[in-house]
Symmetry: C2
Subunit: 727 residues, 2 copies
Amino acid sequence: MDFSSFLTSLGTSFVIFLLLMIVFAFLSSKPGNNVVYYPNRILKGLDPLEEGSKSRNPFSWIKEALSSSETDIVAMSGVDTAVHFVFLTTVLGILVLSGVILLPVLLPLSATDNAVKTQSKSQKSSNGTFSELDKLSMANITAKSSRLWGFLIACYWVSIVAYVLLWRAYKHVSWLRAEALKSPDVKPEQFAIVVRDIPHAPQGQTRKELVDSYFKAIYPETFYRSIIVTDNKAVNKIWEALEKYKKKLARAEAVYAGSKTDAKPEGTRPTNKTGFLGLVGEKVDSIEYYNEKINELIARLESEQKVTLREKQQDAALVFFSNRVVAASAAQSLHAQMVDTWSVFDAPGPNQLIWPNLKIKYFQRELRQYLVYFIVALTIFFYMIPITFISAFTTLDNLVKYLPFLKPIVNIKALRTVLEAYLPQLALIIFLAFLPKLLLFLSKFEGIPTESHAVRAASGKYFYFTVLNVFIGVTIGGALFKAFKRIEKNPNLGEIASLLAESLPGSATFFLTYVALKFFIGYGLELSRIVPLIIYHLKRKYLCKTEAELKEAWHPGDLGYGTRVPGDMLIVTIVICYSVIAPVIIPFGALYFALGWLVLRNQALKVYVPTYESYGRMWPHIHNRILASLILYQITMFGYFGLQKFYYTPLLLPLPFLSLIFGFVCAKKFYPAFQHPALEVAANPLKEVPNMELIFRAFIPPSLRSEKIDDDRFEDALSQTSRATPV
Amino acid sequence: MDFSSFLTSLGTSFVIFLLLMIVFAFLSSKPGNNVVYYPNRILKGLDPLEEGSKSRNPFSWIKEALSSSETDIVAMSGVDTAVHFVFLTTVLGILVLSGVILLPVLLPLSATDNAVKTQSKSQKSSNGTFSELDKLSMANITAKSSRLWGFLIACYWVSIVAYVLLWRAYKHVSWLRAEALKSPDVKPEQFAIVVRDIPHAPQGQTRKELVDSYFKAIYPETFYRSIIVTDNKAVNKIWEALEKYKKKLARAEAVYAGSKTDAKPEGTRPTNKTGFLGLVGEKVDSIEYYNEKINELIARLESEQKVTLREKQQDAALVFFSNRVVAASAAQSLHAQMVDTWSVFDAPGPNQLIWPNLKIKYFQRELRQYLVYFIVALTIFFYMIPITFISAFTTLDNLVKYLPFLKPIVNIKALRTVLEAYLPQLALIIFLAFLPKLLLFLSKFEGIPTESHAVRAASGKYFYFTVLNVFIGVTIGGALFKAFKRIEKNPNLGEIASLLAESLPGSATFFLTYVALKFFIGYGLELSRIVPLIIYHLKRKYLCKTEAELKEAWHPGDLGYGTRVPGDMLIVTIVICYSVIAPVIIPFGALYFALGWLVLRNQALKVYVPTYESYGRMWPHIHNRILASLILYQITMFGYFGLQKFYYTPLLLPLPFLSLIFGFVCAKKFYPAFQHPALEVAANPLKEVPNMELIFRAFIPPSLRSEKIDDDRFEDALSQTSRATPV
């Protein structure tokens, strides 16, 4: 890619971004679109527009985003979102502080040297790889030059800035988490633990009695009740069918009410066919039919609930304590002499538990974990092959070479420039969209018991996938492809090495475009919410009849950490790795995170509704991955300096070790408090005596809840042995 | 070493062992020696001889040892000793079950082949390496022979037997530990935890107030009191001086009383000189002088105690709870959000705490640990060099070659045989006697807070030292030395490889003699207690004047796991590693552990008094080390089969992985219960309400104890905020 196509790419992206901005300013000012642009505020029962901003200035959202505090974020979107902003600001800080030193120092050093020109003159074979951007990169430094000292010091500067900011960030997130867990509000998950691997009950004792007597013996004063985990597959199915019919009934009633026009006050009773997809079978009155179905299903649900609670108990349970210090302590204490029985962990939020995974046995979980790691490793390894080919083929020159019939199209100058700018990046982005679902599925298969943990696990896998395949794959893959071609003529190891050194700055341009494309188009789409808006309006017009259906149509979902974090991580990796080789990338990276912060701030405050709260447990993962990027960068730099034949390259060797030690110290100092709640935090006084009955009921899955008040039906799996007075 | 010198060695050892047996039978039947042969029974207030055995049959100790149960051992010598017997029986079981199959199958396979003879015929250069024992080893199998199948299956058999027995042993030890911790007796350490890394107290609050308020907030109902750890160096010094003078006074009084004979009823008041070592200076009346000194020191002790308690507080404390479940849970819970503050662990027995180590800060401990690992690694590496030389030089042929003046001595036939048999082994044993002290010192330097833990750590280091240096050093070192000589003539890689294969069975004979020497002489000395007996009688006759001094003279000490376990471990490693190569070693190994069991059973029941109780925490270390030996064996066998050019050698590859998985599963299933007390165990009811005051006082070091009852002096470092009623 040459310089002009890079500028075209940048320009086009910026124009699209501006257009999306204008669209956003226009659309978001229409009150009819409030549910798309302010759903979080509406769901929280707030006025869509903030007090001060009646004017609907198209840029007022920027002012609002900038003036919002971390406390606002925690209040509106939870600790997890606040932690995501810590991530964005930390990376932004690293990039800005690096750029402030690196740009004014390294760019002049590169620009005034002329290795690239000399090289491309001497090696006539490789015309076209020379570009204006390469002149600003480290590739333009003559080998063994003492100018390399500047780059070496820059390597240290970036690392030290990263350490300092990461340390401060970890400390801050730890504080955020502690503050949230200290909260005097009663949170159900702070009074419960999950027990797995319950041993078989002895003859004449039910599983519930076993659990209750076990915990009653250990916590005679604070044990409240327990819920035995059941296999809810059947009951969930009936419950879902019931919910579906309830919706259909509401819809039929709304249709019926809508048909009562002035002209025809009695209305038309809606009808439907009972057969496949409502297309065949007997025609019936919908309202009557659905009512009938609902009554039938309620009866079936009740009997299935009884069967489930009595006969489908699994070897796992939720145990409730009337004191949150005891619950926090119980969640991290060893209960049984044999560790593969009575294993415990602290309960997550009620909606986060993955019930089917709770019953999986201790060693089976271990086994599944390694199996999944193995599968993921295979996936990462075999995806490498197509990625290598994509990066090698998706340059226009290559396409024309291998698919000559494209030549007439490509020869149109304007089209060619645009295609050249976008083709490789688009291919990559589309390619990466397939993966997250698979990885989330695999993570759940591991036996991970909570949603947030599964998302973290999937996001970790996705990170390693993107770094290994996209970053290393594109860099090395592209280089290898070029190398193969050249080596056919002149096979020689030194040739490969110098080619690699050449191709690193070459790929920098590729990634620069990738970053620019991602932030302009990505954040433009994100902010303007064009797609959800269109979907909402289509649904509203043609599908939704009831209030509930409408609400479902505009429900915004959550921030999607599972893909958002690794996506941003890839940018972090790219920008940090190229920060010294091609410092030009730093401003783009900084812009990406600054813009990302701004847009996401708006979205967090007004749009997205988090589905769960893990109190910042994402941070250690983010931290470790930034550190992994940093180590990758340090190793890359070590190799790259070696290729530049710099005599003092070994001076870079301490850096990766420094990073490892830093990571080790952070893990020792901060991590355990993310694994388990610290007791000093849980010991903070509550503002009211917890209502244990409410806490207990919060954990009963909806399909097992009964509308009747009496509790007798739950006696089988939900214990009632103790009703300690809460402390 | 040839066959006759091996037999001589064996014979001599056996004769010495028999002599020592007779000496033991004779000496132990004299009532005057009871304190040497039955100190544990005497200290426990039991009759030295058991009820049934009035006859003093010289072999009755064997009957008593065989008829004693594990419960007796736990009662007489604690869980740690019982665990040591589990170790001995497990290894014995592995060896017996292996031998039962390996001896009748492998020996005929070897004996009827003739590779050694062929080899020594074809290679005239290496005369003397051929011996009758080598004919019974795997070295006698012709390369590529299908007889090697038998040896391959034997490798699997030994491994599987080891897995099964180790699994059962771990389970049993875990049960032993649980039973001991479940005990309804009140044990002070079960009600206390140790807190380290206490942060600085805020202005206007003492450290004691900080600790008390911190734990009172978290455990409002069960927190009892705390002791702040102090720097006791000065107070200990005074206290030791005081104790010394008290002993001297008692001694002087005894001398004075002894001098009151019938002839001289008023007696002679003993005198001493006050100067250096009692040799110079003014001559004074001893009783008066010591009384004066004691009074002076008591006053100094009291004032120093006050200063220590007030001004020498450290950042560590002991915290007491009135409930042992709470204490067990507190010891394993994360208390602070920042993990390098308020770190906790479960208190060991009161006499086990290493007070000066408690104050060492979190990251300093980590640092020290890695530093020590580094030093130990260096030690292991550099000891390799002398060991290599010792094993190469300490054959008589070599000695004579390099020190020709020894020739006339060596030429005496009988002497030569004995020397040849013992020289290398003696050198090795003496050499190894230097190390344990250094390793224990290093382990304490790591900042390990309890005696038992330090012993475990030292014993681990000692194990790796002996295995790496003695076992691998002797085997490979000897081979290398031979190889160097031969390779000078014919440098060739295949030569080295086949030399190694040759030298492995060669060293087998060396180790066989080593094992035989160790068990006959070692256990003979152990049982007969010749050295302690002589020392005791000398002291009794010439030094001891008072009862206390006498008691000190016969006090037996403990079993010394720090050197006993790694010593036995070395034998385990040797025997397992050679079990298939030279199965002849198995009966010797089995005899070693059988005899060891018998002798130690006697010593545990009647002699040694354990100084601490760690409730079997030694076992995971033993387990891991047996497993390490097994892996070493499996790798050695893999290499050895390869040298024998056996086509199916890769079939041995799964074994080390199997061992790793086995170790992983054991660590997951059993280990955590050894790290922390399981709550279900601690929840067992107590037989009486614990006397918290006694528990609390048990942990005050003797130098800080006051003979006065009033507690005011302790107010500074020993908190008194709460006196909860114990549960």
